[in-house]
Symmetry: C2
Subunit: 348 residues, 2 copies
Amino acid sequence: MRVPAEKLTALVAGIFQKLGLTAEDAKICADALVQADLSGVDTHGVSYYIELLYVPGIQTGKINPRPRIQTIHETPVTALLDGDGGMGFVVGTRAMEIAIQKAKESGVGLVTVKNSSHYGMGGYYPLMALAHDMIGLSMTSADRFVLPTFGRVPRVGTNPISVAVPTAEEPPFLLDMATSTVPMGKIMLARHEGAKLPQGWAADEEGRSTTDPEVAWDAKHLLPLGGTYEQGSHKGYGLSVLVEILSAILSGVQIRTDPELGAEAGHFFGAIRIDAFRPVGEFESMMDGYLRMLRNTPPVEGQERVYYAGLIEYETRQERIRHGIPLHDRVVTYLQKLANELGVEQQI
Amino acid sequence: MRVPAEKLTALVAGIFQKLGLTAEDAKICADALVQADLSGVDTHGVSYYIELLYVPGIQTGKINPRPRIQTIHETPVTALLDGDGGMGFVVGTRAMEIAIQKAKESGVGLVTVKNSSHYGMGGYYPLMALAHDMIGLSMTSADRFVLPTFGRVPRVGTNPISVAVPTAEEPPFLLDMATSTVPMGKIMLARHEGAKLPQGWAADEEGRSTTDPEVAWDAKHLLPLGGTYEQGSHKGYGLSVLVEILSAILSGVQIRTDPELGAEAGHFFGAIRIDAFRPVGEFESMMDGYLRMLRNTPPVEGQERVYYAGLIEYETRQERIRHGIPLHDRVVTYLQKLANELGVEQQI
C-alpha cells in the first residue's frame, strides 16, 4: 500500500500528540520518521520503532513526553545539553538548531547531549544544516550489540555517523552509516527471509563469526565494519568508540555494559559554515564537479552505475514524493488501530 | 639492527637540513618520521617514503623546502591555509598549532589546508592536542588508488582519519586509520612475502576483487574499508569522500582523476577543548573507565586480549624507547649513504 507523506505525517503526529507530546514536538517526531521512509531508510521510518520503542517508552514512563531541555554549559561555539529523557527526535532537533545558531554567529557550532533517547535516522539532523550553507554532522550512542575486535561479548553500539554537505546542483552528499557492518534490522530481515548471512555481519554466543541468522538473532552479536581483524574490523570498532566518546563521554552519559534496548542515549551535533573557510559558491560548484566525477566512474562488469553517499536516498525520495510511501499492511493496520485507540482523528 | 630514537632523529634532521630545510623544519620532519617508527607504524617511518617521496620530491622541485605558509582566510575558530608546496610535516604541524591556538582562545579550532604534500603518519598531529586537554583531529587527501563501490577505476584516496582523545591514566585513545581496507604498503609486503591477499583488500585491472598480490600491485586498485558492497564497502568509500571534502574541497585543491604519486595534498585539522563542554578531570576519568572496560572485554577463543585504538602503538612505543627502533640493514645503509653524500655529520 502506498501512502502520501503528508497523510502519514499527520496521522503519526496525531498519535504522538495523544501520547502527551506538544503539537509542535509531535510534528517533529512524525516528520523525522516520515523523512526516513521517504528516503528509503525503512528501518528507521514508521514501520518498527513506533511499536518497539517509542509508544512503550512513553507509556512506561521511560521516555518523557514533555522534556525541559536544559543547557548545562555553553560557549559561543559549544554546548552541553541535558535532554531530560525526552524523545530523541525532539532533543536532537533542538540540539541541531543550537549548533546551527552558533555556527551562524561564530562559524562553528558543536553540541553534545546526554539524557536523550533513540533519535531515529541519523541523517535527519545534518540535513537541517544544508539550507544555511553549512556542513552538518550528527552521531549517537546506541544499544550495545557490537563486539570489539577479538571480543566475545558486546561492548559498543552500532553508533552511527551522519554527515551532510551542500552542493549547487547535484543531490547533496549525505553519509549516514552505522559503524557496524549492518544494523540489527538486517539480521531480522535475513531471518524472516531464511537467508544465510554474509561473512562479517554477526557472531554467535561465543563471539565466533556466523552466517546463520537464527544463531545471530539469538546471540544479538553484531560485528564492527570490516567484520574480521584481517579485513579491518578494528577500524569499524575504533569509529564506534569515537562516536561513543563524542556522544556519551563528552556529555556524561553513564557507562553501562548491558545491551538494554532503549537505554539512555547521548548525541553529538556539529554545524560548520562553509564561508568560514571559502566562498560558498566556489565550494558548492567544486562539490558538484567532484560528485559528478564519482558518479561517472566507469562501473565494474555486472554493475550499471556508481553512486555517492546520499544519491540513492535522494532518488528514492523523488519517487516516493510522487507515488507515496510503500507500507506493509501490518504497519498500516497497527497505526490505524493505535490511532483509533488513542482517539486520533486523522486517518491514512 | 636497533637504533636509538634520538640518534635516528638527529641523522634524519641533518639530511633534511642539507636538502634545504631550516633547522627547525628539518627537526619537525625527522621527529614526525621517528615517532611513526617508535609507534610501530613502520610504513610511515624512515624506511620507505624518505627514499620514495621526500628526497626525490625536494630534489626535483616538486616539494618546496622553504615554504611561506599563508593564511588565506580566517575567523576566531577557522582558517584556510596555503602550504606553498612545503613538506607535509611542516605544513601540517604549523596548521595543527593554529588549530590548537584557536581552540585555546575560542574552544574549537578547525583548519583546512591546500597546496601541501604527503604528511606521513596522520596520528602525529592530533597527538599534539592532548597536552592541551583537547581532542585532536587530522585528515588528509591521498593519492587516488581506491575504487568507489561498484567502480572499475580508482577515484578516491586511502584518505586517513586520525583522532586522539586525552585520558587521565590510561594510554590515550588514538584512532589512526586509512579509509581503505589496507594501505598500498600492505600489498607491497604481501608481494614480497609471496602471500595470498585476504578478500576485500584489492582489485585487478578490471575492478574485480583479487587475492593475487602481483595482480593487485600491477593494477594499483585498493578496495574501500568493507571490501564488498555486501560487507559495507560503501561506508569506507563514503568516509573517504568525506575526508576528501574536508581536506581538499573545503581548501580548494584542484580535483584530478589520475593517481599520480605525490600529487598536491590537502589536509584538515581540528582541536576541541574538553572544558568547552565539561570539566577536564571528570571527562578524563570517565575515559579511563570506558577504555578499561573495553580492554577488559572477555576475548574470543584463540585471542589473548582485546585492545582499543592506540593501545598497541602505545605499548610498542614504550618498548622501542627502551630498546631502540628496529631497522632493516637496507634502510640503515640507504640513510648512511645519503647522509655521506650530503655531507651530514651525524651517524647512526
